[in-house]
């Protein structure tokens, strides 16, 4: 009887291990295939090798990506480069500007929601709750016309405004929730020392709220990288594009069979992203656990 139980146990462990190994292969194969494709010299998907890695690895796709569009790719006579570097910088700019704007606006708004009374506070807060449910692209056409009137079409600033405005309802609630958990004694002490509300906010509250601000920074920095709808709508010229649009057009245009170049471009984004994720993991998971937990 005892003998039987042990074999049953190890049999179960054996099956579970097989399931885990299969799942690990399923997770890793697309990644390995992408890495291997990026080192393939030929452009098309049909020429990629099924088993990762190509027989003759080549850096040609990376060269093509990183050469300027006006220059010829090294070793060729008629192949031009791409605006990839430009797109990368554009996206970086949008992400940074969005982060700065969002962090300032939403931290301040969250603090005010949490601590102060102002005219029509209830109306404002209730409408924020409803608004955060919406994908902001439902109002695309109007956004387009408004940006047109503001002279912000085909400009990265227009995109930054749309992103940060769109994230205010959710993020200001997020920050409010955090400030609600902080005791009011801290700033009362500051008021007794003669600080103004803004000074109390800047010198006392911001340092206390740092963990949540880190989380807000991470999410608002990563958000714009892979958004596709608004850049596609707002940005027209090739040198203004962001990475999402640029990469999308490599593989979805009419004559676009550039999977290997896409793979190279995707890796140059995904690798720093994954590193950032690992570094920020602690803060992310804490906040996830926080929102998922009791509240």
């Amino acid at each position: 009887m005892k003998q039987h139980k042990i074999t049953g146990n190890s049999l179960a462990a054996f099956f579970l291990t097989i399931v885990l190994v299969i799942q690990a292969i399923l997770v890793l194969y697309p990644i390995a295939f992408t890495v291997s494709s990026s080192f393939t010299k030929s452009n098309s998907l049909a020429s990629t090798s099924i088993v990762p890695f190509p027989k003759e690895p080549s850096l040609y796709q990376y060269q093509r990506l990183l050469t300027n569009p006006d220059d010829l790719v090294k070793g060729t006579t008629d192949v031009h480069g791409t605006n990839y570097k430009r797109w990368y910088l554009n996206t970086l700019f949008v992400a940074c500007a969005n982060t700065i704007l969002t962090v300032i606006l939403c931290t301040l708004a969250g603090y005010i929601f949490s601590r102060f009374l102002f005219p029509f506070k209830k109306t404002v807060m209730a409408s924020m709750v409803i608004l955060q449910m919406f994908p902001s692209f439902i109002g695309m056409i109007a956004t387009y016309v408004i940006l047109w009137k503001l002279n912000a079409l085909n400009s990265l600033w227009g995109l930054v405004l749309v992103y940060s405005a769109g994230s205010i309802p959710f993020n200001s609630w997020l920050m409010k929730g955090y400030f609600d958990t902080i005791s009011k004694e801290y700033e009362e002490a500051a008021y007794i020392d003669g600080a103004s509300p803004f000074q109390a906010f800047r010198k006392i509250m911001i340092p206390i709220a740092k963990p949540e601000i880190v989380f807000l920074t991470l999410t608002s920095f990563t958000g714009p990288w892979m958004d596709f709808i608004f850049p596609k709508l707002i940005l027209r010229s090739d040198d203004k594009k962001t990475l999402a649009v640029g990469l999308y057009e490599m593989i979805s245009g009419r004559s676009a069979d550039n999977f290997t170049m896409f793979a190279a471009g995707a890796l140059l984004v995904a690798v720093p992203f994954t590193i950032l994720f690992v570094l920020g993991q602690k803060s992310l998971l804490q906040s996830l656990a926080g929102t998922g937990g009791k509240e």
Binding site: A46, F118, G139, I141, V145, G177, F198, F228, F273
Partner: protein, 441 residues
């Protein structure tokens, strides 16, 4: 030193402020700064009276046909509509300010009568810094949300009641007109709508099926691996955990593109591999067969979504007290019974709110559908209505708005529908927040 106060005169402040905004503040309350700002606001509104009138009128008429004018000078219905909405928002702010101005005049007057003196300079300054901080701090947020969220939303709701669509009603060449509930009839009444109604039924049903399946498959696959990786018999759980988190760390859009290419019918490596091993004779139509594409979509979505559920369930399971399991072991419960009566109910209870919000998120999961299948493959009514077999409401809205022939009016009808579906979720999410429970609002 202190001037005597005159209660009778002070009581006229709200009346003066009703006559002209800010008048009471300047004349009797000595709140010069506030008073002058308020007066300036009213002066600006009064000076622009005629253009305000015109833009509201424009919103109502949406322009007149002027066949004699060149295109550039013709009435542009859409511009008129948006200008009209902006004007209405400004007017609303003006009215709110007016009410606020009268109320605050009354309050200040009462305050002064009660104290028997005007506030000193020091008090005024403190007062300003105390009370203006929240208003000034919140103002940029409100402005940005109003311009980039509220106005576009109002616009898109209004468009549902117009005939804004190509080819016949696209400004500046043509005008757009109000058509009442026509678009709703087209969408929901099969006698009027024809293929639109049947497409709508198909897409709405698939949206629901998709939201249910994508939520539960991700959750239970994630839950399964979280449980397996906690099993003591498994070697190297840390390795598997790290590998399984990768799809969560990689930007979703990139994973979807890679999958779309992996599953490409003819050139995709997956079909090539299966053919190489002679497991299949004909390529599997992963993304080109309407039924198969739906299945593929849900499976690929599991690949992308299960790590998140795995993380959540893992952290939720570690929070369960060990003593529960010890007690169960003493009572002779086996592993499966322990899972069934302890782990599962406790995790489900804790993660139910998240599951519900994920469901709402999946109704809106534009990315998964658009980047993997693009809504395709086409079915019989796709040419007429643009809705492919895997399109959900939100991706259909996108197509109707962005692709020619644009059907902005019908896209807006769908947007209103999505709004109505999502509001209960928003309220649910809100009602479990702390500030609601403490009845702050």
């Amino acid at each position: 030193m202190e001037k005597s106060i005159n209660p009778k005169k002070l009581r006229t402040a709200p009346i003066l402020s009703t006559i002209f905004m800010g008048l009471g503040q300047v004349v009797v309350l000595k709140e010069y700064l506030r008073g002058f700002i308020l007066m300036a606001f009213e002066v600006i509104i009064l000076l622009n009276c005629s253009s305000i009138f015109n833009s509201v009128k424009g919103l109502i008429t949406l322009g007149d046909p002027h066949p004699e004018l060149p295109i550039k000078l013709k009435d542009h219905s859409i511009f008129m509509m948006i200008t009209g909405i902006i004007t209405l928002v400004v007017l609303a702010i003006f009215i709110i300010t007016y009410v606020f101005n009268v109320r605050s005049a009354k309050k200040s007057a009462e305050q002064i009568i009660k104290n028997g003196k005007y506030p000193s300079k020091m008090e005024t300054r403190n007062n300003i810094s105390q009370h203006s901080f929240p208003s000034i701090g919140i103002l940029p947020c409100i402005l940005m949300v109003a311009i980039f969220t509220v106005i576009p939303l109002v616009f898109s709701i209004l468009v549902a009641f117009t005939n804004y669509s190509s080819p016949d009603h696209i400004p500046p060449k043509n005008l757009v007109d109000w058509v009442g509930l026509e678009n709703f009839k087209t969408m929901f009444n099969s006698k009027v709508g024809g293929s639109w109604t049947s497409s709508f039924g198909r897409v709405a049903l698939w949206t629901l099926v998709w939201a249910v399946f994508s939520t539960f498959t991700c959750f239970f696959v994630g839950f399964f691996f979280a449980v397996v990786l906690q099993d003591k018999r498994i070697k190297f759980p840390g390795f598997y955990r790290t590998v399984f988190i990768l799809p969560y760390a990689i930007p979703q859009m990139l994973s979807l593109f890679v999958w779309a290419n992996l599953l490409n019918g003819t050139f995709g490596p997956i079909n090539r591999m299966l053919q190489y091993f002679q497991l299949i004779t004909k390529p599997i139509p992963w993304l080109s067969d309407p039924k198969m594409a739906k299945l593929t979509l849900i499976l690929v979505n599991v690949w992308i979504g299960f790590p998140y559920s795995m993380i959540l369930t893992t952290s939720s399971m570690t929070a369960i007290s060990k003593s529960l399991y010890e007690a169960a072991t003493i009572d002779g419960a086996n592993k499966w019974q322990q899972f069934k009566s302890i782990t599962f109910p406790l995790v489900m209870r804790q993660l139910k709110p998240i599951l519900i919000m994920q469901f709402a998120g999946n109704i809106n999961n534009f990315g998964a559908v658009f980047f993997l299948t693009g809504g395709g493959p086409n079915v019989s009514d796709t040419i007429a209505t643009q809705a492919g077999s895997t399109d959900i409401l939100i991706s259909w809205i996108y197509k109707l708005t962005m692709n020619t022939p644009n059907q902005y009016n019908l896209a807006s009808v769908l947007s209103i529908l999505v709004f109505i579906v999502l509001v209960p979720f928003a309220l649910y999410n809100f009602m479990r927040t702390k500030s609601f429970k403490e009845s702050e609002i």
